[in-house]
């Protein structure tokens, strides 16, 4: 049996695997795609560290900026750890070959992102996440870490409150596989795709690990906090990076007039845009005045993608935009050792809630989180596995998952789940989105209840088991419905506005709610409470 099983091969998963290996554990990584193809590759802005390479900065300022953005529900000790270890983390990335952009003096270049008091984000052009992820992958090869692709997580093996591995679907063969391990790390990413096409994220960001952990008995927290990015392309939700506004781009309403401070926090700008859209008509970002040469040099991706998806050339035309889901602050509840409420089960990255982002994440902190808490999870999981000489598992004792999958296949199913998936995502964007209130949330909850009743009438028409992507999308959809339920229940419970969670029926912060929301399963029922 292997020591540490890592599920997910994005930044957090690969760092966790490297750390566990370094500690002396045997490690296996599973991913539902391939390593290097995860959400991490889409991170553009940078990774925060108070290096003071491009102007004066300090760990204290990094700490204070992060704490402020978290709006009172972060764990100060965790933020301290994040900021303290930032400098070391970036030095390590430099030492393994991440090709950071450079200053004239040879140091790593840094830029200022929203909410930061200094130029703190170390970047590699507009490819920071991509280049970090690929370098981590190369290190995993160097350290002979086993990485198995095309494995979709179905359930965790848990006996008497202790994890013993994971059960996955091998997409290549259609077979269900048990991977037993002494400890397991979930690094499966966030859940922004519950907003479907109204999300900047990759199509697979469906919160699978979070849903699986919940089913296995783990607690979740703060699921109602979802960050919306103000500027995504209107038709395709492709991100127009914050640097477009940072460099001087304007937001214009249907009358081609400016209506807000473009440099305010993401949640405020998103709300201002939604208000304009509610009046009818489009909202645009205008970067024409920056000049074609500047755009080609600083925003080449944006120009290419706007032309491709919107048929608009930003050098000469206005770009139609809308705010869409971008990052999910909530996730699996973990302690200071990155361990979940299930013994031996750890979590890191966007799927975990280390309480460093609180009610709103700062740009540049998510890549840093992957490194700092990926390490924490990897080292602790390895220590636990190495100490634990005896096999903790009695194997998977749950339902026959192969049989369950075969039962999902139904060429004559009555309800098309793709149609329902679109409906769910629209419902969430409308009613559990940037602005919420009790009436909207109750409507969404009612919709979800009806959807759950309809689920047995849905199925997978494609009966071939080899690389059945319809089956994968249906399993992802089922996970999404569970995640969506947590998000809406948390949003109903939290009768206040805080950071990214905005209730127009309760527009202010309320001291009573200055704590984390906790979710757990009691039988089939999902319970939501406020942390004491």
């Amino acid at each position: 049996m292997i020591d540490v099983l890592v599920v997910g091969a994005g930044g957090a998963g690969l760092v966790a695997a490297l750390s566990a290996k370094e500690r002396g554990a045997s490690v296996r990584v599973l991913t539902k795609t391939y390593p290097t193809r995860s959400q991490t590759c889409m991170a553009q802005g940078g990774i925060n560290a108070a290096l003071s390479n491009s102007g004066e900065d300090s760990i204290k300022s990094h700490y204070e900026n992060t704490l402020k953005s978290a709006h009172g529900i972060a764990d100060e000790k965790m933020i301290e750890k994040l900021c303290n270890e930032g400098v070391e983390a970036v030095k390590w990335l430099d030492s393994i070959g991440v090709p950071f952009s450079r200053n004239e003096d040879g140091s790593i270049a840094q830029r200022r992102l929203g909410g930061a008091s200094a130029a703190r984000a170390c970047y590699a052009q507009d490819y920071t996440g991509l280049k970090i992820l690929h370098t981590l992958y190369d290190q995993c090869n160097a350290n002979e870490i086993e990485m198995l692709s095309d494995r979709f997580l179905l359930e965790l093996i848990v006996n008497e409150g202790t994890v013993g591995g994971a059960v996955v679907l091998n997409l290549k063969t259609g077979e269900v596989e048990n991977h037993e391990a002494k400890s397991v790390i979930l690094a499966t990413g966030g859940y922004s795709r519950i907003y479907g096409n109204n999300s900047t994220n990759a199509v697979g960001t469906t919160g699978d690990g979070i849903a699986v952990a919940l089913r296995a008995g783990a607690k979740l927290s703060d699921m109602e906090f979802v960050q919306f990015h103000p500027t995504a392309l209107k038709n395709s939700s492709i991100l127009i990076s914050e640097s477009a506004r940072g460099e001087g781009g304007y937001l214009l309403n249907k009358d081609k007039e400016r209506f807000t401070n473009e440099l305010a926090p993401r949640d405020e700008v998103s709300r201002a845009i939604v208000d304009e859209m509610a009046k009818g008509g489009e909202v645009y970002i205008d970067i024409r005045h920056l000049g074609e040469e500047f755009i080609d040099h600083q925003l080449p991706q944006e120009r290419k993608l706007a032309k491709l998806y919107e048929n608009v050339d930003p050098a000469f035309e206005l770009i139609p935009i809308k705010p869409v889901a971008h990052y999910t602050m909530g996730g699996i509840e973990v302690d200071a050792e990155s361990q979940t409420s299930i013994k031996g089960l750890f979590a890191a990255g966007e799927c975990a809630n280390h309480k460093v982002h609180g009610a709103n994440r700062l740009g540049g902190n998510s890549l840093l989180e992957l490194i700092v808490f990926g390490r924490e999870a990897g080292t602790n999981a390895a220590n636990l596995a190495i100490e634990n000489m005896e096999s903790p598992t009695n194997g998977y004792a749950g339902r026959d998952l192969k049989k369950c999958i075969l039962e999902l296949q139904d060429p004559a199913c009555k309800i098309d789940f793709y149609t329902k998936r679109d409906e769910l995502c629209e419902q969430f964007y409308e009613n559990v989105g940037i602005k919420r209130n009790h009436k909207m949330l109750t409507e969404a909850l009612g919709y979800l209840e009806r959807l759950r009743d309809d689920l047995p009438l849905m199925g997978v028409r494609d009966t071939n088991l080899i690389y059945n992507t319809e089956l994968v999308e249906f399993l992802e959809f089922k996970n999404m419905t569970e995640i969506a339920n947590a998000v809406v229940l948390g949003a109903i419970k939290r009768e206040e506005s805080r950071g990214a969670h905005y209730r127009d029926d309760n527009p202010n912060e309320n001291q009573e709610f200055q704590t984390n929301t906790i979710y757990y399963k009691n039988g089939d029922e999902l319970c939501v409470t406020l942390m004491k």
Binding site: P35, T36, P99, H134, D138, A142, S236, Y467, E470
Partner: protein
């Protein structure tokens, strides 16, 4: 508009509306509205994850960055096993990164890198491992163990990195079924969605190998006979 998709041995035609969509959007529409069994891979929709490489009319493209035209023929990548429809198995291809020992050895000292130095391997590190160059490479028809364009570009990325003090193992790893098996035909260059030229990087690796005392085996063998007595 009609597009034709290679599905196993069959060629299946689909009638699609002309709505100025990308090929990936069109495939998604076919899957969710017409035929849910159509299989393809996708991820980021914005050309950074490398999941949706396929061939259109014989040329490699990313489906998320291509707009289809009347009569297009859509096929899976070449030189890799087809798992189903447009989905290929990249495991062996990815494995060449390991065979090439394309990685850095961590250094403890912090090395100053000027913006000009950083430009040396900036383009090479833009690689998204989509496999387009691997599919376009004709060497695989004669040598299935060829380390191949993307893995060699990756090797050069590290070999050319100022921060690397010891590149000997990476250089040694690309001598067999590596740099000398490339015919420098250049088929890998125009198909790269990131504008990388693996052929150039292979030439650079050959030069570096020469400097380090390695010899092109085809060159060595032509003299081989005369040296035995």
């Amino acid at each position: 508009m009609t597009i034709n998709i290679k599905r196993g041995e069959e060629l299946v035609s689909y009638e699609i509306e002309e709505k100025n969509l990308t090929l990936l959007q069109v495939l998604t529409q076919i899957k969710t509205e017409v035929d849910s069994s159509l299989s393809f891979s996708s991820g980021c929709r914005s050309s950074v994850c490398g999941s949706c490489a396929m061939r259109v009319n014989g040329r490699e493209v990313l489906a998320c960055a291509y707009k289809p035209s009347e009569g297009d023929l859509i096929e899976p990548l070449r030189n890799v096993p087809v798992l189903r429809d447009l989905v290929v198995d990249m495991d062996k291809a990815y494995g060449f990164n390991k065979i090439a020992k394309a990685w850095g050895l961590p250094t403890s000292k912090s090395i100053s890198v000027s913006p000009q130095d950083a430009k040396q391997n900036e383009l090479q590190s833009d690689c998204i491992l989509c496999g387009s160059c691997y599919s376009a490479c004709p060497v695989y028809s004669v040598n299935s163990e060829f380390i191949g364009p993307f893995a060699l570009t990756r090797s050069w990325k590290y070999v050319s990195d100022l921060r690397q003090s010891d590149i000997s193992s990476t250089i040694a790893a690309v001598q067999t079924s590596g740099i000398y098996d490339c015919t420098l035909c250049g088929e890998c260059v125009p198909v790269c969605p990131q504008g990388i030229a693996p052929k150039q990087d292979i030439v650079m690796l050959k030069n570096k190998s020469g400097v380090l005392g390695y010899m092109d085996p085809s060159f060595a063998s032509s003299f081989g006979g005369g040296l035995t007595f």
